[in-house]
Symmetry: C2
């Protein structure tokens, strides 16, 4: 049972915009045990769209269209799908009456174009749109002896997602053999993909009934496990068994196994131990604080801190002696240490974390002039001791800043894990 | 002349990954006067890939494959493209010799699988890959009386992009009628799309030879103009003429017309006037500072500031009287004003900007308990006066934080534009 997703809309054939609905739809279809085999993106052109629909109906069992259900001339999905199926569209009088009523209730006259949104493919069920004016459509039919399901959904994600979740998913579940899907995602920071694969492949390869995907990026490795069984109990059991074995192998490298991101895990760990954190950031310039404060409820454990981008502010906000900055350079182990200790003292937080480095593209100045781009020091002070890490990061400014913030979060996590004191 | 882009790779049919090469390729093809009419994403399955290749070759003039050129069993693009074209692949002996040599130079033995990367579609030109082991291929042929160009590119963006830019683009330019393309992007912040369209449509609709796209999102509207002519002079002239008329209509609402983002423009304006800036952020928690410091060279104009997430730090870092926070609540006009003035005084910057608000999902506490989620105050102090803006932002935590930072940047920009003092 394979599916094809067709995204209709000329804007997705420009360099500026991409189809994103298909990621959501793929996850939902996978939940039902359906794999997506093709995605097609096609413009607002009747011939192109009809051709794409014809191809899709011939090669896939389930075809889902997103977009092209609006009232304008460019909205052609209804006509194209009908033509590809070899049937007509019919204007649905009750749908039309409803549309007129909705406009009348707002004391507006319906533009004549809008009547088009009442066109329904012969044999299709109309799907109510709780968040917009374009109804969806669901059609189950037989073509050349093969059973086909064709679904038309509106393009805006705010309309498509609730319509799929509330209306289409139950209809598809009823039409398909029962499948129960269990998922787990294990996340690890700052560990090479090759190392994760070398250590975990011998384990997950034994689980031929669990689909494993490794994804790497942004200083993080994710292991996705998906099992599909006739009962949820069985699917969950297989995924949990594999998770247990991989967790035993990778030990503390795994920072989360239920989807939480690294900043959420760090805040959770601080919360459990009634600890607070403050940050002094130079090269990351607020990125670490911004990541932490993006987590709802973070204000209980993250007090704030300072963006000590200029040399003078390192003294003003974290009490780093100006001579130290002048002699060692702002990107140095002693300055990182003084920043972490200083921000902790100024804020009264349990932990002070600091980041100072050369993010590029231009090199440092003064004592930092000879230091390489990508050199970063992070320090974590807890009042009794201060850990400092020297990093040599690769890549451009954005990458260096991101990885520096990732290392800072991981340093906090590992310190909390190792320490018995907290 | 239309193109189709086929991205091959099963990982792009999961909920986790998307094809991104096609955005780059679309821009490059548009430069050559070629529109992309279809994008297809297909897994590592010979039957599926061959079918997709066959469809593409029949409906498009130029077909570009990305991915599937590696040495593994899953790398099937060569075979699929050849099958769809009805020709064979031949193992190229000189390519093979080169591959052996490359391995030998590193004192390694080439795995036998790798020989597959020397397979060349009959009639195709081999494209050297300066950044990886998989060569590309370029084939010009005639099918059923129609001229077709088929191009195979490696999937990793770091290999695909330089190969296209350096090798494929000149080959395509030579094969296609000469086209010169001029582009301009006008960007505006915090203005409704409907208003931009109502004011600019009467202008751009007159320029039927300039393609106009309006994109809205993240508190910004972009107007993209593209003209394609036989000379660059002519194309540039039309785009410039339209830009001039739209600039006259929208006046100061346009913050950039050469692609710069809002933070770059703000820093540029500060630089031109030898001004410096510091920020005190509560609800945005470092997001504004992080956006500013993401710009290379920002350290000259942005000194840094404080993330005053807890009430106490508003006093510690910006000297806001604790009684003021306790009586008015941290989300209030007087606190916003005191934060902006305080951070300016502490840092010695020309301007102090502050943001304080309720980002949700939980409401404020104490005096802020009754205030609505989305209430945000921003203040800008220049030493002689302090401007304060009250905002009522919609949406979730991420959106409220982003829009608050966008309003803060726009407040600085507008203040600098209006003021004669700087």
């Amino acid at each position: 049972m394979i599916a094809e997703i067709i995204a209709a809309g000329s804007e997705m054939l420009t360099p500026y915009r991409q189809d994103t609905n298909s990621l959501y739809l793929t996850e939902q279809l996978n939940d039902l045990g359906v794999q997506v085999a093709f995605k097609t993106i096609v413009g607002d052109n009747l011939e192109h769209l009809t051709g794409a629909a014809r191809n899709a109906i011939s090669r896939a069992d389930i075809v889902i269209f997103s977009g092209g259900l609006g009232p304008t001339e460019d909205d052609l999905t209804r006509e194209a799908a009908a033509a590809a199926l070899g049937v007509e569209v019919r204007r649905d009088p009750s749908l039309l009456a409803e549309m007129y009523k909705r406009y009348a209730a707002r004391k507006m006259v319906m533009p004549p174009n809008n009547a088009k949104q009442a066109d329904v493919i012969e044999g299709a069920t109309v799907l109510a749109n709780a968040n917009g004016s374009a109804p969806g459509q669901f059609l189950e039919t037989t073509i050349g002896g093969y059973r086909k399901i064709v679904i038309l959904l509106p393009g805006p994600p705010g309309e498509l997602k609730p319509m799929f979740a509330q209306v289409v998913k139950p209809m598809l579940a009823a039409a398909l053999p029962p499948q129960h899907l269990a998922r787990r995602t294990l996340r690890m920071a700052l560990i090479p993909e090759s190392q994760v694969d070398a250590r975990t492949a011998p384990i997950y390869k034994e689980f031929t009934d669990v689909e494993t995907t490794i994804l790497a990026g942004h200083g993080e490795i994710q292991l996705h496990f998906v099992a599909s069984k006739t009962t949820l109990y069985e699917a969950q059991g297989r995924v949990d068994e594999l998770t247990g074995l991989v967790e035993a192998e990778m030990e503390d490298a795994i920072f989360s196994s239920h989807g939480e991101n690294l900043e959420e895990v760090v805040l959770l760990m601080m919360g459990l131990r009634h600890l607070t954190l403050a940050a002094a950031e130079s090269c990351t310039g607020g990125l670490l604080a911004s990541r932490l404060t993006a987590v709802p409820g973070s204000s209980r454990y993250f007090l704030g801190g300072a963006v000590v981008y200029s040399d003078a502010l390192k003294t003003t906000f974290a009490g780093v002696p100006a001579e130290l900055v002048a002699t060692e350079g702002p990107v140095s182990e002693p300055v990182a240490k003084a920043l972490a200790e200083g921000i902790r003292a100024r804020t009264g937080a349990s932990f002070g974390i600091s980041i100072t480095g050369i993010a590029g593209p231009t090199p440092g100045t003064g004592p930092d002039a000879e230091k390489p781009i990508g050199l970063v020091y992070i320090a974590l002070a807890d009042g009794s001791q201060t850990r400092v890490k020297e990093l040599n990061l690769l890549g451009n400014r954005d990458r260096i800043r991101w990885w520096a913030s990732q290392h800072a979060l991981e340093l906090i996590r590992v310190t909390l894990l190792e320490s018995q004191a907290f």
